[in-house]
């Protein structure tokens, strides 16, 4: 039993995604530990459910939040994909969508909200400001990328991103959720140092092989 190599979601074909390599790499690493038949099957079922009902914390600080509202309205209708439920409390949310610039005053608040969320939790950085500081990168009061504060799962670039870009990013997150180990994956023991070395070596080899093929 192993994690499925090709993660499929309903909304879009596998081949149409432009960046499958990072997901394949993730699957490969997960498969190195192997997965039990029972836990693995349960994982698939749970992940299928989780990926299709991602509840996001509404965390709109500026412009991107308006585009997110447009996403919720009838035309773009994000209910089709299962992430229309937005929560106003971090305790009830699966993921935080950071929509807009994060300033120095807001940074501790964002960190606190993130800490208040229950595991497993995901972060989507939307817009140029959250990714790097965007047009305000030289400012004295803007955090240059929220990955300096909290770990980010998916980046959605744009200023603000188009609704289609939102979808692409959200689907990437869905695919990421699908390959994760829900049971047994979270509290697993840390690898011994020599094992990690081995992983790094093999991944490097793999990369060079891929390079040759191309």
């Amino acid at each position: 039993m192993e994690v499925k190599k090709r993660t499929s979601i309903m909304s879009m074909k596998y081949e149409e995604f432009k960046n499958n390599d990072y997901l394949e790499e993730m699957v490969r690493q997960l498969n190195m530990d192997g997965a039990g038949i029972i836990l693995g099957t349960l994982d698939e079922l749970i992940n299928w459910g989780r990926s299709n009902s991602l509840w996001s914390l509404t965390f709109g600080t500026s412009c991107c939040a308006i585009e997110f509202m447009a996403l919720g309205a009838a035309r773009y209708d994000m209910a089709r994909f299962g992430f229309e439920v937005t929560r106003n409390s971090p305790r009830q949310a699966d993921m935080i969508m950071v929509l807009g610039t994060i300033t120095y005053r807001m940074a501790p608040v964002l960190k606190r909200l993130y800490d208040q969320m229950a595991e497993p939790k995901y972060v989507v950085a939307v817009g140029g400001c959250t990714i790097s500081g965007g047009p305000f990168i030289k400012s004295y009061h803007v955090v240059n990328g929220i990955d300096k504060i909290i770990p980010v799962d998916v980046y959605i670039p744009g200023c603000p991103p188009r609704p289609e870009a939102f979808y692409y990013g959200m689907m990437q997150l869905q695919r990421k959720v699908k390959v994760q180990k829900f049971l047994g994956g979270i509290n697993r023991k840390e690898r011994k140092p020599e094992e990690t070395e081995y992983v790094e070596n093999t991944s490097a080899e793999n990369k060079s092989e891929n390079g040759r093929h191309e």
Binding site: T58, F59, G60, T61, S62, C63, A65, I66, E67, M69, A70, A73, A74, R75, T86, N88, G100, T101, T103, Y104, R105, M106, A107, P108, V109, K111, R112, L113, P135, F136, K138, S139, Y140, H141, V142, V143, K148, I149, C159, P160, R162
Partner: protein, 541 residues
């Protein structure tokens, strides 16, 4: 020289009238209070509307402020200037008992420049953390002096006040914002119905609101400081991100200001396009206002209605400008691209469609018993308070204050079109709501008058590759979707501004929350905030 300037000169003969750029009357700080009082309580032409206070760092000359005043009956304007030469301990007299809006504007100046205002009861920082070091808009500020601080911020419950002793010494005392007996509810910054990252510390007694203390700066990006290191065409990019629901109008204001200063005449075609785009943007913003207000009050269907029509506007704009929300369309000398071939046709169709469906809007929400009970008679703002607080735009007009910049200081094509300024007299939440709903129809009328007559010509005149403005101070003002938006540029003849300031349309609105909500029910707070229609990134800049 006009009558007001003459009057100032009779009171203070040593006042200097500067004509570098725009007319500015420089008054020594000792006699500034006297002049301010005389202008405020002038019998013929009281200057009762303080448009803005702009802090300035004039280097060697010292720190100072510009005061933009307007009379609400004759619409005459005047700009005053006063300077303190002592950079370390700059003190200026406060005018907050003449114009209430000065309370919060002086806090802004203190926060950015460190000028302390004597007798202002609330001299706290406003946008920056209370433990922030230094004053960022000063020219000698070290940009790396405040690294990211991830500690939670603790807000003080008291404020500082500085006053002059009878024997001429400056002393400080503490004023209490929230005492031990106050029950303080913290609303925001992460709250779905505060339209962004506004935080209000609200003290309540049972269900009644006793005081609201807005805490801002959660989206303060330092746009004014950033602009000082950008060239003029580059500064344009920031305006769309101020109030993103007035993106066109904000950019229009800055373009107008630069064009005026550089003496660039733009073609009539560009004027037409700009005006139509401004009005489309206004409809867009008001539709979003309608959607959000309904959603804040718990009605979800109007949200879908509003966004349905809003998407149509976005389609029209996208075809021409390439952007949905942030368009970056206006340029110095005109607009970025010519209108799309189907623009005229689609706009006309949209207006016909909107006129048809607007009845549904009123049926589902305006006529609803719940909405009426929650809006009518709630959150009343009197005309005097509106003027004193400087709540321009729909909020002021709902209180009977005719303040439409399009009408009283026409720009672009507004002088030539026939439209009505919507005013109500009730000043309650419902009037504020109705002003916006009626303005949608007025905007349709304006577009209809222009859309068929867009003249031929070039959409953008050629400008020099490097734009430099002559020395001086230049301003321009436009009516955005939520009030008067002013741009102030001080130029030293360079290719980038020495100081660029934007008048926030939302700052007076947030400041007015305390006046409006006091004594009201906490359950009405969100609805009142919704009808005031502020956008937080525009306040924090």
């Amino acid at each position: 020289m006009n009558r007001i300037t003459e009057k100032i000169l009779t009171i203070v003969p040593e006042a200097v009238v500067g004509t570098n750029g725009e007319e500015i009357v420089a008054i020594p700080k000792e006699s500034f209070r006297k002049v301010a009082e005389a202008l405020r309580y002038d019998t013929e032409e009281p200057m009762d509307f303080l448009r803005d206070i702009v802090g300035m760092d004039w280097g060697e000359e010292g720190l100072g402020t510009l005061y933009y005043l307007e009379c609400t009956s004759t619409y005459n304007r005047i700009t005053l200037k006063t300077v303190d030469h002592d950079r370390e301990n700059a003190f200026l007299p406060s005018v907050c008992n003449l114009w209430k809006t000065a309370e919060i504007k002086e806090r802004e100046v203190y926060d950015f420049f460190g000028i302390k205002f004597l007798n202002n009861p609330d001299m706290r920082r406003i946008f920056l953390r209370e433990d922030w070091k230094g004053y960022p808009l000063r020219k000698d500020y070290d940009m790396n002096s405040n690294p990211l601080n991830m500690e939670n911020e603790i807000n003080a419950d008291d404020t500082d006040e500085y006053f002059l002793n009878p024997d001429g010494k400056i002393e400080g005392r503490k004023n209490i914002v929230f005492g031990k007996e106050d029950f303080v509810v913290n609303i925001g910054p992460q709250h779905p119905s505060t339209h962004g990252v506004l935080r209000m510390r609200t003290s309540v007694e049972g269900e009644d609101i006793r005081r609201i203390d807005p805490i801002l700066g959660y989206i303060h990006r330092g746009i004014e400081k950033l602009s000082e290191s950008l060239t003029y065409p580059q500064t344009l990019a920031m305006t769309d991100r101020l109030d993103y629901l007035s993106a066109h109008q904000n950019r229009h204001a800055l373009c107008m200001c630069i064009e005026k200063a550089a003496g660039i005449e733009i073609s009539e075609r560009a004027q037409y396009i700009r005006t139509i785009m401004d009005e489309l943007q206004r409809i867009d913003s008001h539709l979003l206002f309608y959607s959000c207000l309904a959603m804040d009050m718990g009605a979800l269907t109007p949200f879908f209605y509003g966004f349905r029509e809003r998407e149509m506007i976005l389609d029209i704009m996208e075809e021409t400008t390439g952007g949905r929300l942030i368009q970056n369309y206006n340029m110095i000398g005109g607009v970025q691209a010519d209108i799309h071939p189907t623009f005229v046709q689609k706009t006309k169709e949209f207006i016909i469609h909107l006129r048809k469906v607007i009845k549904d809007y009123h049926d589902i929400f305006t006529g609803s018993v719940i909405a009426r009970n929650r809006l009518i008679g709630v959150g009343v703002l009197s005309r005097e308070d509106a003027i004193s607080l400087g709540t321009t735009g729909g909020t002021g007009r709902a209180s009977g204050w005719s303040n439409d910049v399009r009408k009283h200081h026409p720009y672009a094509m507004y002088g030539k079109v026939d439209f009505k300024e919507i005013t109500y007299t009730e000043g309650d939440s419902f009037a504020r709501y109705m002003v916006r709903m009626d303005e949608i129809m007025e905007s349709c009328r304006i577009i209809e008058q222009l859309i068929d007559n867009i003249p031929e010509g070039e959409y953008r005149v050629k400008t020099k590759p490097v734009i430099k403005l002559p020395e001086g101070i230049f301003t321009s003002s436009v009516e955005t979707s939520r009030g008067e938006f002013d741009v102030m540029i001080e130029s030293r003849g360079d290719k980038s501004p020495y100081r660029l300031h934007y008048r926030s349309t939302g700052l007076p609105l947030v400041h007015a929350m305390d006046t409006i909500c006091r004594g009201g029910k906490i359950a009405d707070l969100i609805a009142i905030g919704g009808t005031l229609d502020f956008v937080i990134p525009d306040i924090d800049r």
